[in-house]
């Protein structure tokens, strides 16, 4: 048990008072910036880099990791309470979480998110300890065609699960895919659908789209319905804490979410979005209470939140073992390592074991801190919902605008926020699901580049897509997921006709 011994030594590093302090500062900062849409953990780490230049490398890396984990917690709080995901990874949480909050069950939603994050974060961090070297070998075997197949699975499950019908889901997905085309094509460098606007050359900012569709759209929708139905929000209905029933319904989604989040997060092009949405789709399929989905089902919060945090831990696997940053925050942490003349990679474990294991051990500690920090705050947070609706939504609008401008100070960005807000309103009004749009925007460009890379490597031979066992399996899963609902419905009709 070499790993265990090293971990204990790491723990000795992590519980030094100074390092505990850094971890605490990190999680506090991370929670704060996670709450703000637009200002993510990546930007925070970037801004702190020059400040921490003179500090001890161990301490500041521990702080950065705290920011990373804290950001994941903070993002879910606003997603649940005011339907404004702080970052794209907490979008899936907003779907059911916000419905729960509106039904007076914001307390249990926040609690299951916090505890689920803790459980997933802890398991996944243990995964780093024991599985990292093996996982990395598998991850580099993932070729472009395999990634493309994985994206296909995500597209199909997401558009088939969200909304009332697959057609509506697919419509939303294609809107997202089209938005994803805007900007400079990654492989040839040519601008597409940018209409000569330089700000569009980098494509559409994901947070702008998500905040516009979710938060602004929601605010407009609520405002438009004020005179038709008076929605009364009870901040707390029933217990503020999770009931026995809630626990029973949460623990399996936590574990399943972890299983999605950690391995996909560890893939060099995996990210946090695919596992969170896959987890949401899975929970919706497996739940015993399908009627509650779309109205606030606790499984829909527990699973994605766990997946979200597990993937954050997963990203550290390629970062520490290969020096491969697979998310914006991981890239900033890499810059942090380099600032001290350290190059993450195969040699880092051998050269600076104190640092690596200290960092891993402090992830455990950061997780405990976040749980202790977040659970007592639940009671305070849900009181936000007691704010009269017009004030609350006006506040959300201000918050959304400030967040967007903070991330990218430009008039065009604000205009886009407005346009997406109206789009979100219309989609709600005509009952089209919103999440597939964002999924299309995030994954569409990735899927396209991976497909084209696969074709470039195979010199244009499409058979490459089914020759790799990984991609063949994934594509088969996608095909089944696409056809199954139609076939089942057809069978249902057939049976009905026979009766």
């Amino acid at each position: 048990m070499d790993a265990l011994y090293s971990l204990l030594q790491g723990l000795a590093v992590a519980i030094q008072p100074m390092n505990l302090m850094f971890a605490l500062i990190g999680v506090l900062l991370g929670t704060a910036v996670g709450v703000l849409p637009g200002i993510g953990p990546a930007l925070t780490v970037a801004l702190l880099l020059p400040v921490t230049y003179k500090l001890d490398p161990g301490g500041s890396l521990i702080m950065f990791a705290g920011i990373y984990y804290g950001g994941m917690y903070g993002g879910s709080t606003t997603a649940i309470l005011i339907n404004t995901p702080g970052e794209s990874a907490s979008m899936a949480t907003a779907l059911e979480g916000n419905k729960m909050a509106k039904a007076g069950r914001g307390g249990p939603a926040l609690a299951t998110a916090a505890i689920g994050s803790f459980v997933a974060g802890t398991i996944a961090t243990a995964g780093i300890v024991f599985l990292a070297p093996w996982l990395v070998e598998v991850a580099v075997q993932f070729g472009p065609e395999d990634y493309f197949a994985l994206m296909c699975v995500a597209f199909i499950t997401v558009s088939a699960t969200f909304g009332d019908s697959p057609i509506r889901g697919l419509t939303s997905l294609f809107i997202g895919l089209t938005l994803g085309l805007i900007g400079i094509d990654k492989l040839t460098g040519q601008p597409r659908l940018a209409f000569g606007v330089p700000e569009l050359l980098d494509g559409i900012e994901i947070t702008t789209l998500a905040v516009g569709l979710f938060a602004v759209g929601e605010a407009l929708y609520v405002a438009s319905r004020r005179h038709i139905v008076q929605e009364t929000l009870e901040p707390v209905r029933g217990s503020l804490w999770m009931t026995k029933e809630d626990w029973k319904r949460s623990w399996k989604p936590w574990l399943r979410g972890t299983l999605f989040g950690f391995p996909i997060g560890a893939l060099p092009a995996g990210g946090a979005e695919i596992p969170t949405f896959l987890s949401y789709s899975t929970e919706k399929r497996l739940t015993k209470y399908p009627e509650e989905f779309g109205k606030g089902a606790i499984e829909g919060v527990a699973g994605p939140e766990a997946a979200n945090n597990a993937s954050a831990a997963g990203t550290l696997v390629p970062l520490l073992t290969l020096g491969l940053p697979t998310s914006a925050t991981a890239a900033m942490m890499l810059a942090g390592f380099q600032q001290y003349g350290l190059n993450p990679g195969p040699l880092l474990f051998a050269e600076r074991p104190d640092l690596v294991w200290g960092l891993i051990a402090s992830l455990f500690i950061a997780n405990i801190m976040l749980l202790v920090l977040n659970l007592p705050l639940v009671g305070l947070w849900v009181r936000l919902l007691a704010i009269p609706q017009p004030w609350l939504y006006a506040g959300i609008l201000v918050f959304a605008t400030v967040g967007t401008v903070a991330a990218k100070p430009s008039l065009i960005e604000l205009t886009m926020l407005g346009v997406f807000g109206v789009m979100g309103f219309l989609m709600r009004r005509f009952d089209f699901p919103i999440a597939p749009v964002v999924v299309g925007l995030i994954l569409g460009p990735v899927a396209e580049s991976q497909l084209r890379r696969a074709m470039q490597i195979s010199l244009g031979d499409p058979l490459v897509l089914v020759q790799s066992p990984i991609s063949a399996t994934l594509l088969a899963i996608a095909a089944v997921a696409l056809i199954a609902p139609f076939v089942l419905r057809g069978l249902g009709r057939f049976k009905a006709a026979e009766d």
Partner: protein, 320 residues
């Protein structure tokens, strides 16, 4: 120490500061035309750090204007900073290509060139188990069938892409046929190289240094004119491949500043690159000192622009 002594000390200190130079009181803005974290941002923040640590200016502020290979920041700088001698923009090789590819309405020629400050050597690598051992091995494959040799590197039209095209051209194949696969960053392309999905990979040397030392990647050539001291990797030149290219970064002043303002910025940058704080930063980041100012830099810039245009035209990324 009494209060009056402190005051006197401060007075003396500020008097010496005044006496040293024209820019000691300057409030400098350093524009990084990129998001926080990238090469230009790190360069801008390093400049800020060195200037403040050496007390060369009163205050330095970094402003990020991300977008489109730096051309969004360039356009904003040209339009809003005209005649302002208190601003410096960080840019470099990548912007030269981005201007051509994005058909940017503003050009780098509108700025006031100050100096080239750093450069990074590029490296070409293959996975450790690849049969390719030298640049000539790869050259032989390229000559056999150029389309079958896949190169992985950073974004299209960037320094990695241009290097791939130059390599193919230098070994006698048609540069326009280079099979270059663009990845969004060094990380993603590294996975494809380690997994043996592509023939060779291209990046800045620092990015792959750890993998090369660990024996997971084999470096078959660097693009610097000479070997890096203490590193056992041959240059392309010594392997008879005429390929010299570096990813350089520079600082430039606003359009339309006076000769006096330009002189102040020139002096400031020269003082900075010679400071101990700057040398420390270079060592840490693995950047090479490439200070070149005045007419030398202006000529270098012209040559690089012509070379980049030529390559981008040959691979079909730029017209005219």
């Amino acid at each position: 120490m009494s209060l009056s002594a402190v005051c006197r000390g401060l007075l003396v200190a500020s008097a010496t500061l005044f006496a040293t130079s024209a820019f000691a009181q300057m409030e400098l803005k350093v524009i990084a035309p990129a998001a926080p974290g990238g090469g230009w941002d790190q360069t801008a923040r390093s400049i800020q750090q060195a200037l403040v640590a050496e007390k060369l200016v009163r205050n330095a502020q970094v402003i990020n204007i991300p977008g489109a290979g730096g051309t969004v920041g360039l356009a904003q700088f040209v339009n809003s900073a005209k005649g302002d001698g208190n601003q410096l923009m960080v840019n470099g090789f990548v912007m030269v290509g981005a201007i051509l590819m994005n058909k940017s309405p503003v050009s780098i020629d509108q700025l006031t060139p100050i100096a080239r400050i750093t450069e990074e050597t590029q490296v070409m690598v293959v996975p450790a188990n690849s049969p390719i051992k030298t640049a000539q091995d790869l050259a032989a494959l390229v000559k056999q069938d150029v389309a079958k040799v896949t190169f992985a590197g950073g974004s299209a039209g960037g320094v990695d892409h241009i290097m791939a095209a130059l390599f193919v051209g230098a070994v006698g194949a048609e540069a326009s046929k280079v099979n270059y696969i663009a990845f969004s960053g060094g990380g993603e392309s590294l996975a494809a190289i380690l997994g043996g999905k592509v023939t060779a990979g291209i990046s800045g040397y620092g990015e792959y240094e750890g993998q090369i030392k660990a024996g997971k990647l084999r470096a078959i050539g660097i693009t610097a004119p000479q070997r890096i001291p203490g590193v056992d990797v041959p240059t392309f030149k010594e392997q008879n491949v005429d390929l010299v290219i570096t990813n350089w970064r520079s600082v430039m002043g606003a359009p339309g500043i006076t000769a006096a303002q330009k002189q102040v910025l020139n002096d400031l940058v020269e003082k900075m690159v010679k400071s101990a704080a700057w040398k420390d930063i270079l060592k840490q980041k693995g950047w090479d000192d490439a200070y070149l100012s005045g007419d030398g830099f202006a000529k270098f810039l012209k040559d690089e622009q012509a070379r980049v245009l030529n390559v981008l035209k040959s691979v079909g990324l730029a017209k005219s």
